[in-house]
């Protein structure tokens, strides 16, 4: 694994601490999970970085990026859980499925509306589209017993 690239052009302007550069990995990650709106992406990046720095002291860039990406995931899961009325722990698999749907559903799907609150345009429609793309790997089980058949052989040991 190689070291991350810190982009000196990418800056967060809100405060001295926030003026430090946003790791490119974090920026790309937000893009990959479906945050299309650049202003929103920047705002989220700032918030996640801030959260990542909290209590962790000075960190190397890679660690900071990891913590921030973890925070992105947490926020995305929280937004999805709130939007769809899911439990963040019990429905972890479903949330992962929705994350996958968002990431694989681009450009049709975007995660922006999840962070834009209840006033987001076409929120209900977008939620419906997202739910429609939720991965359903298997249908509900409908058991049918399949007992092993006994074999009786004439010249061989029977099963």
């Amino acid at each position: 694994m190689t070291g991350s690239v810190i982009d000196s052009d990418v800056t967060v302007a809100a405060s001295a601490e926030e003026a430090s550069p946003v790791p490119q990995a974090l920026w790309d990650y937000l893009d990959r999970v479906g945050v299309r709106n650049e202003a929103l992406r920047a705002s989220l990046a700032r918030q996640c970085l801030k959260q990542a720095r909290k209590g962790a002291g000075p960190q190397v860039a890679e660690q900071l990026a990891s913590e921030a990406i973890e925070e992105v995931q947490r926020r995305l899961d929280r937004a999805l859980a709130q939007g769809l009325g899911l439990h963040p722990v019990r429905d972890a698999a479903k949330l992962a499925g929705l994350r996958a749907a968002l990431a694989m559903g681009q450009p049709d799907l975007s995660a922006d509306f999840l962070f834009e609150g209840r006033d987001a345009d076409n929120r209900e429609q977008q939620l419906a589209r997202l739910i429609a793309r939720l991965p359903i790997a298997t249908p509900p089980e409908a058991h049918l017993p399949m007992p092993a058949q006994p074999f009786h052989f004439v010249f061989f040991k029977s099963s």
Binding site: M1, T2, G3, S4, V5, D7, D9, V10, T11, A13, V22, Q24, A25, W27, D28, D31, R32, V33, A39, R41, A42, S43, A45, R46, E62, S66, I69, A93, K94, A96, G97, R99, A100, A103, M104, A132, R133, L134, P135, I136, A137, T138, P139, E141, A142, H143, L144, P145, M146, P147, A148, Q149, F151, H152, F153, V154, F155, F156, S158, S159
Partner: protein, 691 residues
């Protein structure tokens, strides 16, 4: 036990009497001829052995010959009126309580996900063209262990669901434990979801079926409630190597008469070939659970060739099993080279020889036992032919060394030793005729089918193709004979084979590969040639076709693996099949899907690390993982493995270790975040400033 009208016993008995009488009479006639020749100078022990071997072999050859001949006769007169597809619907019987849905199930194990899903998409596209796709659900039953393949399968599956807007109609399951290989895979499916479906159509990883064929199979099952299984005859398609194209041509041209002939005498007691068949789920689940056989592999343990056994169990329970020889639109792919073909034979050989004890299982019908015996004989015939050639050579040597005695006792008149060259030549010619006449029957059949004639490239090209195919099969038969002899001996000495993924794509064999695979056969060919030429020159010339195949095994195998030669033959119109000259929609769909997949593949980084690092792939994988509790000790082990990946890379882990990590959501999430954070973004991404 089904209660509806069963297929009339009278017809079954009559047809079988006719068929087996022809087979037995031919065998007896050929044996009588050879025995009378031997008797002229008194039968020696080696001649007795030759008679016994010949009896077994000619029985096998004449079974095949009469099957083809009857099939030819039926097709010449428009087909069999007693085939399952022509029988009127049979009313009565108990109503199947299961919902009238059909599951298309595809068990896979370390196959190329791109090809698997391109094929599955093609089938689904063809099914949608029928307007009846809603009656079906697709199930990919993966047994793949390698996380690389596992993750890729999931992505292909999800993309397919999205592309066809078929969420909740196409399913994917990766089995946690591979118990009992393919039969265990299907068994788990029946156990977990069997009650959802009335029928399942079992596909192989390389199966292709037209939508109209799938719906037709369902209709046939609905019309015949006493039928538990209908097997469609899959035609090999798609490969471009010379080897595969020759075999595709042979199967396409000759296969129909053999299938029609088999259907003639088997009727409702037919067999199951493991895929491209529709199965009534409830009786299958009730009667086809397979136990482990006592003892160790290769004869004990899990049942390798489960299909024959499942068909026998269904028949034992009173259900009908049919071969719908006239169902079109069912396809599969062949191994692309002679070596791959032999590798597949190794597994099939073990599976079929394992059926020895099934022949002696209580409760099976005589015809089920015959199916097992025929399966065994399809491999045992090779060592029998080999032994037959050896004993014939030895006999020829003995004859050449024997000084004729003209005068006995005080008799002054010489007693001339009687030559049996005429009888032996007749026997040889009769045997050869039975081997080659089915090819002629197929050619003759084309004379009355003008459309087919065009599709195969016209009568001149067809005749040339049959001629070249015959030469090719004469040359490769001894190679396969030695391979199969070797396999049978290995299995008899209790050496089992591993469950390996198959090489299905076209690939040219290198000199090294061909040499390593065929040096033994080449050596045997040259040695046998030298010995026969040196000691029995008259025998050498008869033996030449067999010797040539063995001596040239290496170049033959290499040349036949060539795609360039295969395509050249195609340009010349040789070995052309209707599926090549006018491909059905399902094959065109497959071609397009493969092209699209290849185009999108170029843009994707293919390592496991990059797959785990990708939020889409990783999230999808986590979403599909079954919920399971991890013990504290395992948690520590997983953490250690995670750090091993971070420090030494994924290549430092074994496949089971990778699988353990890939099966744990926490470890995976940790790896995913680290992998993304440490990725080299370079300057590829547009650089943005946060406001």
């Amino acid at each position: 036990m089904p209660a509806a009208t069963v297929f009339p016993r009278r017809i079954r008995v009559l047809r079988r009497v006719v068929f087996f009488s022809l087979v037995v009479l031919t065998t007896v006639a050929a044996l009588a001829m050879i025995a009378s020749a031997f008797q002229q100078n008194g039968i020696t022990p080696q001649e007795l052995l030759l008679l016994f071997l010949y009896m077994l072999l000619i029985l096998w050859v004449s079974t095949s010959f009469w099957q083809a001949t009857i099939g030819f006769w039926l097709l010449l007169w428009g087909g069999d009126r007693q085939s399952i597809s022509r029988l009127p619907p049979r009313a009565g019987g108990r109503t199947d309580q299961a919902p009238p849905k059909t599951a298309l199930v595809m068990p896979i194990y370390h196959e190329d996900p791109e090809r698997v899903f391109a094929g599955l998409r093609a089938i689904y596209q063809s099914l949608r063209d029928t307007g009846r796709a809603d009656e079906f659900e697709l199930f990919v039953l993966s047994d793949s262990r390698n996380p690389d393949v596992w993750l890729e399968e999931e992505v292909h599956w999800y993309r397919m669901c999205c592309d066809f807007d078929a969420h909740g109609k196409i399913f994917y399951r990766n089995r946690e434990k591979n118990i009992a290989r393919k039969s265990g895979n299907l068994e788990e499916f029946c156990h977990r979801w069997g009650a959802r479906y009335r029928y399942m159509i079992v596909l192989d990883a390389d199966s292709l079926m037209c939508g109209s064929t799938l719906t037709r199979m369902v209709d046939l099952m609905e019309a015949h409630p006493t039928v538990a299984l209908i097997q469609s005859p899959p035609l090999p398609v798609n490969h471009k190597s010379l080897f595969a194209r020759i075999l595709q041509f042979a199967s396409s041209l000759y296969g129909e008469i053999f299938a029609a002939g088999a259907s003639f005498w088997q009727l409702s007691d037919s067999n199951y070939w493991g895929h491209n068949a529709i199965i009534r789920v409830k009786p299958f689940a009730e009667h086809c659970g397979l136990p482990k056989l006592p003892g160790k592999e290769p004869f004990g343990g899990e049942i390798f060739s489960h299909d024959f056994v499942e068909a026998a169990l269904l028949r034992k329970a009173g259900w009908e099993v049919w071969l719908a020889y006239d169902l079109k639109g069912s396809y599969e792919e062949l191994p692309p080279t002679l070596i791959d073909y032999a590798k597949r034979d190794r597994r099939w050989c073990q599976g079929n020889l394992q059926h020895v004890r099934m022949v002696f299982a209580r409760g099976f019908s005589p015809l089920s036992r015959l199916h097992f015996l025929m399966g065994i004989m399809s491999y045992l015939s090779s060592p029998l032919w080999f032994l037959f050639l050896l004993v014939t050579g030895f006999e020829a040597y003995v004859q050449s060394q024997t000084m004729p005695v003209y005068f006995f006792g005080d008799n002054v008149f010489p007693v001339w030793p009687e030559s049996y060259a005429v009888e032996m030549t007749t026997v040889l010619l009769v045997t050869l005729a039975m081997l080659f006449l089915p090819k002629i029957w197929s050619l003759l059949l084309l004379l009355v089918r003008s459309e087919d004639r065009k599709a195969y490239g016209g009568i001149v090209r067809i005749t040339l193709s049959v001629l070249f195919e015959s030469i090719f099969s004469v040359l490769t038969a001894p190679i396969l004979m030695l391979y199969q002899t070797n396999f049978v001996l290995a299995i008899l000495s209790r050496r089992s084979t591993a469950w390996l993924a198959q090489q299905r794509s076209d690939h040219r064999l290198s000199v090294k590969e061909a040499f390593l695979a065929h040096w033994g056969q080449t050596f045997v060919g040259i040695l046998a040639g030298y010995v026969s030429y040196r000691y029995v020159p008259s025998f050498f010339w008869w033996f030449l076709p067999v010797l040539a195949g063995l001596a040239f095994a290496i170049p033959l195998s290499m040349l036949s693996s060539s795609t360039a030669l295969g395509l050249l033959a195609r340009r010349l119109g040789l070995f052309l099949t209707p599926e090549e000259s006018a491909p059905p929609a399902v094959l065109n769909y497959l071609k397009d899907n493969l092209a699209q997949a290849a185009a999108s593949r170029l843009a994707v980084d293919d390592t496991l690390e990059s797959k785990i690092g990708d939020p889409a792939v990783c999230s999808l994988h986590i979403a599909l993982l079954p919920h399971r509790l991890v013990k504290r000790r395992q948690r520590h082990q997983l953490r250690a493995l995670t750090y091993q990946v971070i420090e030494e890379g994924p290549s430092s882990l074994s496949v089971p270790e990778k699988r353990a990590l890939a099966a744990d959501p926490d470890s995976l999430t940790r790896l995913h975040i680290l992998s993304w954070a440490q990725r080299d973004t370079g300057n590829a991404s547009p650089q943005r400033a946060a406001s």
